[in-house]
Symmetry: C5
Subunit: 81 residues, 5 copies
């Protein structure tokens, strides 16, 4: 998994079929790279998150046919006290 911080939302109206309910969020990974991850947790700007990549992101969805998603936010990282 990779760790990063949500920086913004990405909107795509013209898109292929099969994208589930959720949001595309831009995440700045620790180290500085950026990617777009799919979010089903309602993550907000500035939130620290864990991301899985690859077919595992698509397989998480319950649909019989996996959606075209290759990065998924699987959790919010707890603040360390």
């Amino acid at each position: 998994m990779l760790r990063g911080t949500v920086t913004s939302s990405v909107w795509s109206t013209k898109r292929v079929e099969g994208i589930p309910a959720g949001a595309f969020l831009e995440v700045e990974l620790d180290g500085g790279a950026r990617l777009i991850a799919f979010d089903v947790l309602g993550s907000g700007i500035g939130e620290r998150v864990l991301i899985v990549q690859g077919s595992v992101a698509a397989s998480w969805f319950p649909a019989q046919k996996s959606p075209p998603i290759d990065a998924l936010i699987i959790g919010s990282i707890d603040e360390t006290v």
Copy 2:
């Protein structure tokens, strides 16, 4: 997902069987790297797009046997006003 800008078309007449209807487009990713993505949306030069990579790109196609495609444009990014 990765984000980039379509820069040109790529043509391949001599190719393996099983490539579906659509276009090979060169995309310059944010950051400067380039890859060739498959497009079924009619994306044009200069269009900002979202791309999935890996087996997820192939699995999107409805055919029983997934095509030899490892990068797919899944959406056009809305202009931010």
Copy 3:
């Protein structure tokens, strides 16, 4: 596989369903990069470990539906005498 050293634990209370029993551990790979790997072996801070990435990490789990895990610690590296 990649080789690295466990550096810390990562906690995530707000997370998607389907994450199995185990721990998220931060690992510093040989070379300096960092990733978060899932651990079912009880690996400790400072332990040298082997990690698999990608869908193989998820497929290891016995559940019928693979969990959203893309990096798994598969072994502890024996100290060389």
Copy 4:
């Protein structure tokens, strides 16, 4: 997909079972990196080619059990006039 130029053949007599008919070709990718791709098109030295990577390369083969191939030349790039 990645784009590159075939630079040489690679021969492996001692190898695992299950590798199909075809050739291992070294390809220099645009940007300078090199990888070994499997070729079923009879591509020659100097030819410009499109390559898929990952499980998609193996899934293309019609055999019931996918071969241990993770990069496949899927087409020759047409010369632009």
Copy 5:
């Protein structure tokens, strides 16, 4: 596929279940990066080898359940005369 040279063995006594018979070998890839590949060919230190990565490495094994292996040596590269 990637090409590299076997540099050492890696031993792991404490490990997850499901790892098949064979050896973990450290390989220095052309270019200088290092990874740990699984070997079933009896490859030796200094041998030049071809490696597949990802789920394809696991799928090669005949077991019904793929092992947690994401890099496999598929052949030894013939010396060029």
